[in-house]
C-alpha cells in the first residue's frame, strides 16, 4: 500500500510536469481553462495527501468497523433464527405432549372408574362375608345357649319329677332307687325328644 501511494505520487508528478510544460506561464488572474503548474501541484499534494492520510487513519478503521458490524448483524440474525427454530421445536414438542395427555385422559378416567368399581365390589363382598360370619357365630351361640337352657330345663324337670313322685308314693325311695328312676326317665325323655 505504501508502494501504491509512492507510485501514485510519482505518476501524478509526471502528469503534472506535462501539465506545466503546456502552461504558457502568464500572470494572474488564472483563467478557469488554464492548465496551471502551481494549481496542479496543490491539487496533487492535497488530493494524494488526503488519500494517504484517510487510507491510513480513517478508511482502514472504518472498513474494519463496517465489516465487524456486518458480522455482528449476521451472527445476531443467525442466533435469532436459531433461537426461533428452537422455540418452535419446543412449542411443537409441548403441543404434542399436550395432545397426547388429552388423549390419555379418557383412558385414565376409565381406569380410575374401573379401580373404584372393583374396590367397591371388594369392599361390598368383604362386608357381606363379615356379616355372614357374624351371623354364623351368633347362630352358633344361640344354639349353645338353647342346648344349655334345654339341659337345665330337663334337670330341673327331673328333680321336680322326683320330688313329685316321692310325695305321691309316700315313701322315700333310696338313693339308688332315685338314680335308677331318674336314669330311666332321662332315657325315656331323650328318646322322646330324639324322636
Amino acid at each position: 500500500m505504501r508502494q501504491l501511494g509512492l507510485s501514485l505520487v510519482l505518476l501524478l508528478g509526471v502528469a503534472s510536469a506535462a501539465l506545466a510544460a503546456a502552461d504558457a506561464g502568464h500572470g494572474p488572474p488564472p483563467g478557469p481553462l488554464d492548465l496551471r503548474y502551481d494549481t496542479a501541484i496543490w491539487a496533487i499534494v492535497v488530493f494524494v495527501g488526503l488519500l494517504l492520510i484517510l487510507r491510513a487513519k480513517a478508511w482502514g478503521p472504518i472498513l474494519e468497523g463496517l465489516k465487524k458490524r456486518e458480522e455482528t448483524i449476521r451472527s445476531s440474525l443467525e442466533a435469532a433464527e436459531k433461537t426461533r427454530a428452537e422455540m418452535e421445536k419446543i412449542r411443537a414438542d409441548f403441543q404434542k405432549e399436550l395432545k397426547e395427555a388429552h388423549q390419555q385422559i379418557p383412558a385414565l378416567m376409565e381406569e380410575a372408574r374401573r379401580d373404584a368399581e372393583s374396590m367397591a365390589n371388594d369392599m361390598r363382598a368383604k362386608a357381606a362375608a363379615d356379616i355372614q360370619g357374624e351371623r354364623e357365630r351368633l347362630r352358633h351361640e344361640v344354639e349353645i345357649a338353647k342346648d344349655q337352657a334345654i339341659k337345665e330345663i330337663w334337670e330341673q324337670a327331673a328333680q321336680l319329677a322326683t320330688l313329685i313322685s316321692a310325695k305321691a308314693l309316700g315313701r322315700s325311695l333310696t338313693e339308688d332307687d332315685h338314680r335308677r328312676l331318674l336314669d330311666e326317665a332321662m332315657q325315656e325323655m331323650t328318646h322322646v325328644t330324639r324322636n
Binding site: 502528469a15 488554464d34 492535497v46 484517510l54 478508511w59
Partner: protein, 308 residues
C-alpha cells in the same frame, strides 16, 4: 446596486487574493504568490476541503471502528455517504474485491463533493470549476486504474486487457490488434479526459449562469425604480431557484465521478482477469464497454452534462 459589474463572475474565477465581504468593506486578503504562481484561492479552498474531510472523518473513524451501531445525525449522515458508495457503487461495479478499491472512491467522492459544495458558500468558490484541478483528479483516476490492474494481474495481463479477443488467424490478428490496442488504450484515456471536462463544465457553467443572472441587476442601473426592482427581484429569485439545482448538481457530479471511476476500474479489472485466467468466460471485446450498465450510465451522464 449590490454588485459592481463583473464582480459576480470574479467569484467563479481563481485569484490570488481573497475577497471576503468585499461588497461591503472592500476587504481583500492577498495570497502568497511569485509572479502569479503560488497559493491561489482555489488551492486554499482545496486545503480547506481536505481539512474539512479530515476533521469529519478522522473522529468518525474511531467510532465506526468499534463496530457499534451508529447513533446520532452526525454519525448516520456521514457514514451513510460511505456505505452508499461502498454498497451501490463499488460492490456492484467492481465486484468481490471492491473493498480493496473503495478507499479511492471514498476519497474522490468526498473531495469532489466538498469542493463542489464550497462554491455554494458566499465569497468562496468551487475548486472543481478549475480545469487544472479536474484534470489532476481525472489523471489520478487514470493512474489509479492502471496501478490497481497492474498490481493485481501484472503488467502483461494488464496490457492484454486492452487487446480484444479475436477468433482470427494469426496473420490477420496481429495487424488488427496493432490497430485496435492503441484505440482501446486511448479510449480509457479519453474517458478520463471526459471525466475531467464533465466535472469542470458542470461546476463552472453552473456558477457562470448564476453570475450572469445576477449581472442583469447592474445592467439596469439608473433606469428607474420600477425596472430596477423588477429585474432585481427576478434575478434574485432565479438565482435562488438555480442554487437548489446547483446543490443537486454538486452531489450528482461527485457521485458520477466516483461511479464512472468504479465502472472504468471494474471494466479494466474484469478484462485483465480474463487475460490472466484464459477466456473461459464470456468475453467483452471492448474493455471499457462493460455492458448495458455502462451504456445506461453514459446516457445518464451525457444528459446531466448538458444540464447547463
Amino acid at each position: 446596486m449590490l454588485f459592481a459589474a463583473g464582480s459576480a463572475l470574479d467569484h467563479v474565477m481563481d485569484a490570488f487574493d481573497l475577497h471576503i465581504l468585499d461588497e461591503f468593506v472592500h476587504l481583500s486578503i492577498p495570497l502568497p504568490n511569485y509572479h502569479g504562481y503560488g497559493l491561489s484561492k482555489y488551492s486554499l479552498l482545496m486545503l480547506l476541503a481536505g481539512g474539512l474531510i479530515l476533521w469529519i472523518y478522522l473522529p468518525l473513524a474511531k467510532k465506526i471502528q468499534t463496530g457499534a451501531a451508529p447513533t446520532g445525525l452526525f454519525w448516520n449522515l456521514f457514514e451513510f455517504i460511505l456505505t452508499f458508495i461502498r454498497d451501490y457503487v463499488a460492490k456492484p461495479y467492481i465486484g468481490e474485491h471492491a473493498d480493496e478499491y473503495v478507499h479511492y472512491l471514498w476519497t474522490a467522492f468526498l473531495f469532489v463533493l466538498t469542493c463542489n459544495l464550497l462554491g455554494m458558500i458566499p465569497w468562496l468558490g468551487s475548486p472543481t470549476a478549475s480545469f487544472t484541478i479536474t484534470s489532476v483528479l481525472a489523471a489520478s483516476v487514470f493512474v489509479f486504474i492502471h496501478a490497481m490492474s497492474i498490481m493485481r494481474f501484472g503488467v502483461w495481463n494488464h496490457l492484454k486487457a486492452f487487446a480484444p479477443h479475436l477468433e482470427l488467424p494469426i496473420f490477420m490478428k496481429v495487424p488488427i490488434l496493432m490497430m485496435l490496442w492503441p484505440i482501446e488504450f486511448g479510449g480509457l484515456m479519453l474517458k478520463c479526459f471526459v471525466l475531467s471536462v464533465r466535472l469542470f463544465a458542470n461546476m463552472f457553467a453552473g456558477h457562470i449562469v448564476l453570475g450572469t443572472i445576477l449581472l442583469f441587476i447592474p445592467m439596469v442601473k439608473n433606469t428607474g425604480l420600477a425596472l430596477e426592482s423588477t429585474v432585481t427581484f427576478a434575478s434574485v429569485a432565479g438565482v435562488l431557484a438555480l442554487s437548489f439545482l446547483e446543490l443537486f448538481v454538486a452531489f450528482l457530479q461527485a457521485f458520477l465521478f466516483a461511479f464512472l471511476t468504479a465502472l472504468f476500474l471494474g471494466g479494466v479489472l474484469e478484462h485483465a482477469e480474463h487475460a490472466a485466467h484464459g477466456h473461459e468466460h464470456n468475453h467483452h471485446p471492448d474493455p471499457a464497454d462493460a455492458g448495458p450498465d455502462d451504456a445506461h450510465l453514459h446516457a445518464k451522464s451525457e444528459s446531466s452534462g448538458h444540464a447547463h
